[in-house]
């Protein structure tokens, strides 16, 4: 058991627990907080995979941005409806069976898949190469993403605008 392995199990346990909490807790507001935890745990997974840059992005965008937005949304709807948004589960058994089946299917693949078990090459700092890749081979994609974000921004504004 290397340190890495220990780290993995700890992080994995955290991630799974917080994920389960997200989908199971009846209080939506709590669910959001658990989601934040799950996102941070994912970031930790990225760290384990030696992608510190992604870890940073995950923290900033997800745990920071997304969670904030969701919280705002919940606050807004709560304010509008005047009561806390309740959360009962809808057909939990059906959902569990289907989810488990999908999981089993994927794992079935993984077991049969010829995955190279070789350890990866020693890792250098990938941040610089990510940056080069973004403006190099993926430049067009990046630009398109920009367009998408602008469109999404406008769309969100349009939807959320208050009617006169």
């Amino acid at each position: 058991m290397t340190l890495e392995t220990v780290g993995f199990w700890v992080v994995a346990a955290l991630l799974l627990v917080s994920s389960l909490a997200v989908v199971l807790t009846p209080n939506l507001f709590h669910a959001v907080l658990y989601l934040a935890a799950a996102l941070v745990a994912t970031g930790a997974v990225f760290l384990l995979l030696e992608q510190p840059f992604l870890f940073a992005v995950q923290l900033l965008l997800y745990a920071g941005g997304v969670v904030t937005i969701v919280v705002f949304a919940i606050m807004l709807t709560e304010r509008l409806v005047g009561e806390r948004v309740g959360q009962a589960s809808r057909h939990p058994l059906n959902g569990a069976i289907v989810a488990a089946a999908v999981f089993a299917g994927i794992v079935g693949f993984l077991i049969q898949a010829p995955i190279r078990a070789t350890a990866p090459a020693p890792v250098v700092d990938t941040t610089a190469s990510i940056g080069r890749a973004l403006v190099g081979p993926f430049a067009v994609t990046l630009e398109l993403l920009g367009v998408l974000l602008v469109a999404a921004l406008l769309g969100a504004l349009y939807f959320a605008r208050s009617e006169e």
Partner: protein, 604 residues
């Protein structure tokens, strides 16, 4: 193109020009009498030209391509000038001319626009009939044959507001068209076998015995069917009596003197072809004789003067056809010509009577001899001619027909024709005695018709006599002496019977009729043939049509509508899967993923 073909062509072109002018120039047509004068003028010149053609005895042929095709024209049009067509030219133009003159007075009370329409039809009729007469081939003959039928339809329906006239016009068209179905199939078959419609070529082949065609008998029979319709032979004779709903001059023109003889003319024209198929000829002879007898019996019980004449026309057409069937086409054709003269005379005289009396019923006339002696006189001349009394025209042609049939050893038809001769004399004198003699009926003051109407009558009467004398002087009739005596005896017997019944009252018509009750019963109901057609039309044709219409609307289209309704229902059912709940859609996606996974696992 030489004079012998140009002049007959001119005869055709003149009425055609008149027709086009009247049809296209509406103000001229609406001018009424002036339109009539134009038509009469054209007809007059045409008659002169025809007379020249006849006197000079022109012969010739000229054709032009009509329907082209890769290997030379399929069909040609043109003029064929020979003694047969020359005689017909004269007859047609003469009767047309006289009828048109007569109509000017007869239809004088019509509104001008209607009168113009009438003369347009008249010109078109002359065009069609002359074109038919001049045809050098079957196709052109068929073309004008149909046009003649059209004119008949239009003229019978001239008073189109009268339901009876409208019905009669349509009936005439349908019945003749039924015969034409045979005609057209016949000429299509003939063309397919020989590749030509042309009389000249066909006759030449027939003479060289080069016309070895399978089923020539069938073909000629089919062509003959056309004549059955047009010349009102049994069983397609039913339209002619109804056609009397048209104005009387029309009846004179087309339903007596010219149009109905087209069938006889055609058989005469195609005689070299018919001669090749004796079995068809025999059939023609039998049908003709039977028609003659059948129509004569119906004429005996008819009280409408025009219908009597109409049945007499059917009867005389039967004579002509019997002659043609006996191989004596010349005799039939001669009878056609003489009959054209005196039947036109009879009709026009009847028209003069109807014009002044205002009814068609002979039992509501009576004693007209005193009121209108001139008309009565010419009517009697016509009657004598029709009954076959020498030296009038009808006698000689009838003799020729009878002797032709006798010589062909068609005993059955001969007996029928002889009996018909007796009946002819009877029913014609019946009309004469009832309408012109006896007690005056009272109401109204009958008077002579205006000279515009009397003129043509006298002319026709004179011609009937003149032609008769000309034939008598020619002395060409080779009939055996016993035949002459027989037919004279028959005519006299008919006359005597009519005289005894209707003049002297020696024999009571009612008693006589009850003696022949079954025949009387049938004849008064036209032997049920009209009813049969009516039943067939309403029951079979219309019934079947309704059935098909129903099937189309509710079964053929129904299958389609069921398909479309099922599609609609199916869509309606599938629509419910779209329940609008987003998570159920996610279930769908999840199942899709599972499906893909399973599929991928199985197919690895």
């Amino acid at each position: 193109m030489t004079l012998p073909t140009v002049l007959p062509l001119l005869v055709w072109v003149l009425p055609f020009a008149a027709f086009v002018l009247l049809a296209v120039v509406a103000p001229l047509r609406r001018a009424g009498p002036r339109a009539g004068l134009l038509s009469i003028g054209a007809m007059g010149v045409a008659f002169m030209a025809a007379l020249v053609v006849w006197v000079e005895d022109f012969r010739g042929e000229a054709t032009w391509s009509w329907i082209p095709s890769d290997g030379g024209p399929i069909a040609t049009v043109g003029v064929l000038v020979d003694p047969v067509s020359n005689a017909m030219l004269v007859l047609v133009t003469l009767v047309s001319l006289l009828v048109q003159v007569y109509s000017l007075a007869y239809l004088g009370d019509e509104p001008p626009a209607s009168l113009g329409r009438y003369y347009t039809y008249q010109s078109l009729f002359a065009v069609s009939m002359l074109g038919l007469v001049l045809s050098p081939g079957f196709l052109q003959m068929f073309v004008f044959w149909e046009l003649v039928g059209l004119c008949s339809y239009l003229l019978i329906g001239y008073w189109y507001e009268r339901p009876a006239a409208a019905r009669a016009a349509v009936k005439a068209f349908w019945i003749t068209k039924l015969g034409d179905v045979g005609f057209v199939i016949g000429i299509v078959l003939l063309w397919s076998a020989t590749g030509t419609f042309d009389f000249g070529e066909l006759f030449a082949k027939a003479q060289e015995h080069a016309l070895a065609i399978d089923r020539l008998g069938t073909i000629m029979f089919l062509i003959y069917l056309g004549a059955v319709g047009k010349s009102a032979q049994f069983p397609l004779h039913v339209w002619l009596p109804d056609a009397m709903e048209g104005p009387t001059p029309v009846s004179a023109l087309i339903h007596a003197a010219t149009m109905v003889t087209a069938g006889v003319f055609m058989v005469t024209r195609a005689e070299p072809l018919f001669a090749l198929v004796p079995e068809v000829l025999t059939l023609i002879g039998w049908v003709g004789a039977f028609t003659a007898l059948l129509a004569a019996t119906m004429a005996c019980v008819e009280s409408d003067i025009k219908r009597v004449l109409a049945y007499s026309t059917v009867s005389q057409l039967g004579y002509m056809m019997a002659a043609a069937g006996a191989g004596a086409a010349d005799a039939g054709f001669l009878h056609l010509l003489t009959h054209g003269l005196f039947k036109a005379l009879l009709f026009l005289a009847a028209g003069a009577v109807i014009h002044t009396v205002g009814t068609n019923d002979i039992f509501r006339m009576g004693g007209l001899f005193r009121a209108m002696p001139q008309t009565a006189l010419v009517f009697i001349v016509g009657t004598l001619a029709l009954a076959g009394v020498p030296p009038l025209a009808g006698f000689f042609s009838k003799e020729a027909v009878l002797s032709g049939v006798w010589e062909a050893q068609l005993t059955g038809p001969f007996l029928m024709l002889a009996l018909t001769a007796l009946l002819t004399a009877f029913y014609m004198f019946r009309v004469v005695f009832v309408a012109f003699f006896g007690r005056a009926f009272g109401a109204g003051h009958p008077h002579e018709a205006p000279w515009l109407m009397r003129g043509p009558l006298w002319l026709l009467a004179a011609l009937t006599v003149a032609v008769g004398i000309r034939l008598a002087m020619g002395g060409e009739h080779e009939a055996p002496a016993w035949l002459v005596s027989l037919s004279l005896a028959l005519a006299f017997a008919g006359f005597a019977l009519a005289w005894a019944m209707y003049q002297r009252g020696v024999v009571d018509p009612a008693t006589f009729a009850s003696a022949l009750a079954p025949l009387d019963f049938l004849a008064r109901r036209r032997y049920g043939i009209d009813a049969l057609y009516g039943g067939l039309y309403r029951g079979l044709v219309l019934g079947f049509a309704r059935l098909i219409g129903w099937i189309d609307r509710y079964l053929v289209d129904g299958v389609l509508n069921v398909l479309s309704a099922l599609t609609l229902r199916g869509g309606d059912g599938l629509r419910r899967i779209q329940n609008g709940r987003p998570q159920d859609y996610v279930y769908g996606v999840a199942f899709g993923v599972l499906l893909l996974i399973v599929w991928a696992q199985l197919w690895r």
